[in-house]
């Protein structure tokens, strides 16, 4: 027992260190971009950056839970599109629907998608990557089908719906606010609730988790439901932000979300991952997509540079971690 506590303390230290490394990397990147284009670190641009990163970070937090349980969810882009399309069609038909109800509707659609995936993964035991890949196709096909090949355009949406993404509270954009609230909820949830800790337990050692009486099925369904609900929420926010719902909304976005988690130090092998890290991962990607167009490089080089930076960030993180581990080992020997 004592050993366990010691170990978890060490792990926490490492995790903290890794986040510092990531933070340092983001700051370094920001300085470089700032030197190349002074417009980067201005109030207006940082506001854009945060607003654009809000949806990504909401999704990344959900994905973190999924990854912690050794799962993966490739269907979130399609879930997002489906919920966005259904919500957009609804508000275009019933213009006086309250925005909160629209958000709830989107979340419900997402939750249904999530529960289906959760059942496939936990009850039937299909591997998450395959189940979500299959559902990705199904949900995407449904989105095209529901939309009937058409888009829902800005003029069809009531102003109250579009204002979800453009309004602000105390000077903070609603999208950012929602992301912050979700972040705080997650922070509390994973660190201070029993269920939150059980998610980690299931991920780090499924067998011992089962032995210690954790209902694995329940945890898995919960995790995918949360992910689905967040995707549904993100769908509404996405459609509201861009004032357009398309069948191919957010195609391939799941990989960006997974990249944010991975950069934030979540391990695909399960059990490891912190909300602050994931947030930093999302911000790093946000800085890239905001900063790369600002620096004067050929648009054809943007993708290559992005890939290079992600790879360097991943390797940098790993090297830092190796170093810390070595130090710890030395300390223990002494």
């Amino acid at each position: 027992m004592k050993d366990n506590i010691l170990q978890s303390l060490n792990l926490e230290k490492i995790a903290k260190f890794r986040e510092l490394g990531l933070l340092g990397f983001i700051i370094l990147l920001a300085i470089i971009i700032q030197l190349l284009n002074p417009a980067f670190l201005t109030f207006g641009n940082l506001r854009d950056l945060l607003t654009n990163t809000a949806i990504l970070s909401i999704l990344a937090l959900g994905m973190m839970l999924v990854l912690i349980t050794r799962g993966i969810d490739l269907s979130i882009g399609a879930t997002l599109a489906l919920s966005g399309m259904i919500t957009a069609l609804t508000v275009s038909a019933y213009g006086n629907l309250h925005p909160l109800l629209a958000i709830l509707l989107g979340i419900m659609v997402g939750i249904i998608c999530g529960v289906i995936l959760g059942l496939l993964v936990s009850k039937i035991g299909i591997l998450p990557i395959i189940a979500s890949l299959g559902l990705m196709n199904v949900f995407r096909g449904l989105t095209f089908w529901v939309g009937g090949g058409e888009w829902v355009s800005a003029y069809q949406m009531p102003p109250s719906f579009k204002s979800i993404a453009t309004s602000s509270f105390l000077g903070i954009n609603t999208l950012v606010l929602i992301a912050v609230v979700i972040f705080l909820l997650f922070y509390y949830f994973v660190n201070n609730t029993i269920t939150g800790r059980q998610i980690y337990a299931v991920g780090s050692n499924p067998d011992s988790a089962r032995v210690s009486g954790i209902n694995q099925t329940k945890i898995l369904i919960l995790v995918y439901t949360i992910m689905g609900g967040l995707s549904g929420l993100a769908g509404v926010l996405w459609v509201s932000k861009f004032a357009s719902a398309q069948g191919d909304t957010a195609t391939g976005y799941e990989l960006t979300v997974i990249a944010a988690c991975i950069l934030g130090g979540v391990s695909i092998a399960g059990g490891v991952g912190k909300v602050t890290g994931v947030l930093l991962g999302a911000i790093l990607l946000g800085v890239l997509s905001n900063g790369l167009p600002l620096i004067n490089v050929s648009p054809f080089w943007q993708m290559g540079i992005e890939g290079m930076i992600i790879l360097i960030a991943v390797l940098f993180n790993t090297n830092v971690k190796m170093l810390v581990e070595k130090n710890n080992l030395l300390r223990r020997e002494i």
């Binding site: 496939l120 395959i130 890949l133 943007q302 993708m303």
Partner: protein, 331 residues
């Protein structure tokens, strides 16, 4: 092929033999053939059935190494980008005056190097999972392809190059012959050699296999390099079919390939599944798509059908496996 399977099983029983996943896939193929030929008058003839293979076999070459990778509990999602990069390099090399044969060699080399780089990173940084590594290189490789060709397309290949994607040997498409040839080789390698057994060993227990003398790192390096090489072969066929290439080709191929492997009964939980299953799955998905295309099913329905097929068939395998497990424990 069936006799080989029989030899594999120690105490032979007909029931177990017919309960294999591969039979299910063969049944599926029969069902799809029946459905296709009853729905479309254009399906059931020699030309249609052989020509169909040209439409879906190009990406199927990546299925071989992907089976090995997934049996080892790894994954490679950079293969689509590898296809794009090696294809672009081949086209640029040819247009820079390199003879076509050499350009194809360069293409294969680039693909193999991409795969080797993935393998190297995985072996060097043990705690990095394959998803992380190949997700990064997925962006990187395609990014390099964009750097090289920018917004241009590149082509103008010699006439004979179109043979790869469009040519026949006798009346059989060349791509089908090469695919079947490689299929036999890969089945033998995975199912009959020590190398193949090592792959299964790594998948079922990586740590134990390391202690029992399996050179895990070397096996991983070889398999990932193979994935790159096969991606390059896909690139050759794909480029030949298009007659020119761009940095945005082969987008999301990795997911198509993973779907085929999954349908083939290979589980990413490691150590299980046969190469033959994945090869059959290629034809299941390919002919299903082709047949539905012949009756002009819209793309969105096609997505739903393929998605459901994947989920339902994997559900069936899983229930079956659970059933077996139960029997074992009750015994």
């Amino acid at each position: 092929m069936s006799t080989r399977t029989i030899n594999h099983i120690q105490d032979f029983s007909w029931k177990r033999f017919f309960l294999q996943w591969e039979w299910m896939l063969i049944l599926l193929i029969i069902a799809i053939f029946t459905m296709n030929s009853s729905l479309s008058p254009y399906f059931l003839n020699y030309i249609s059935i052989t020509d169909a293979t040209m439409t879906f076999l190009d990406k199927a070459f990546i299925v071989f190494p992907m089976v090995m990778i997934m049996i080892m509990r790894e994954i490679d999602i950079s293969v689509g980008s590898t296809v794009a990069l090696s294809s672009v390099v081949m086209a640029v090399a040819y247009n820079a005056g390199v003879p076509m044969v050499l350009a194809i060699m360069i293409c294969l080399l680039v693909g193999a190097l991409c795969g080797l780089f993935n393998g190297f990173l995985l072996v060097k940084y043990k705690e990095l999972s394959a998803v992380i590594v190949t997700l990064s290189t997925m962006i990187l490789y395609r990014g390099i392809a964009y750097m090289i060709l920018e917004n241009q397309s590149s082509g103008g290949f010699p006439m004979w190059f179109s043979f790869f994607g469009w040519g026949y040997v006798g009346t059989i498409p060349f791509i089908l012959i090469l695919f079947l040839l490689l299929a036999v080789i890969f089945v033998l390698v995975l199912q009959k050699t020590i190398f193949g057994r090592h792959i299964y060993a790594i998948g079922s227990n990586p740590i134990a296999s390391r202690f029992s003398g399996v050179k895990v790192d070397r096996v991983k390096l070889i398999v990932f390099t193979l994935a790159g090489l096969m991606a390059a072969i896909t690139a050759v066929f794909l480029t030949s079919r298009m007659g020119s290439t761009r940095p945005n080709v082969a987008n999301m191929y990795e997911l198509d390939v993973i779907a085929m492997v999954a349908l083939g009964g290979i589980s990413t939980a490691g150590g299980k599944g046969k190469m033959l299953g994945a090869i059959l799955a290629v034809f299941v998905i390919g002919y299903l798509q082709y047949g539905l295309g012949l009756i002009n099913v819209p793309a969105q329905s096609l997505l739903v059908i393929i998605g459901l097929l994947l989920i339902i068939s994997v559900t069936v395998t899983n229930l079956r496996m659970k059933g077996k497990l139960k029997k074992k424990t009750s015994n």
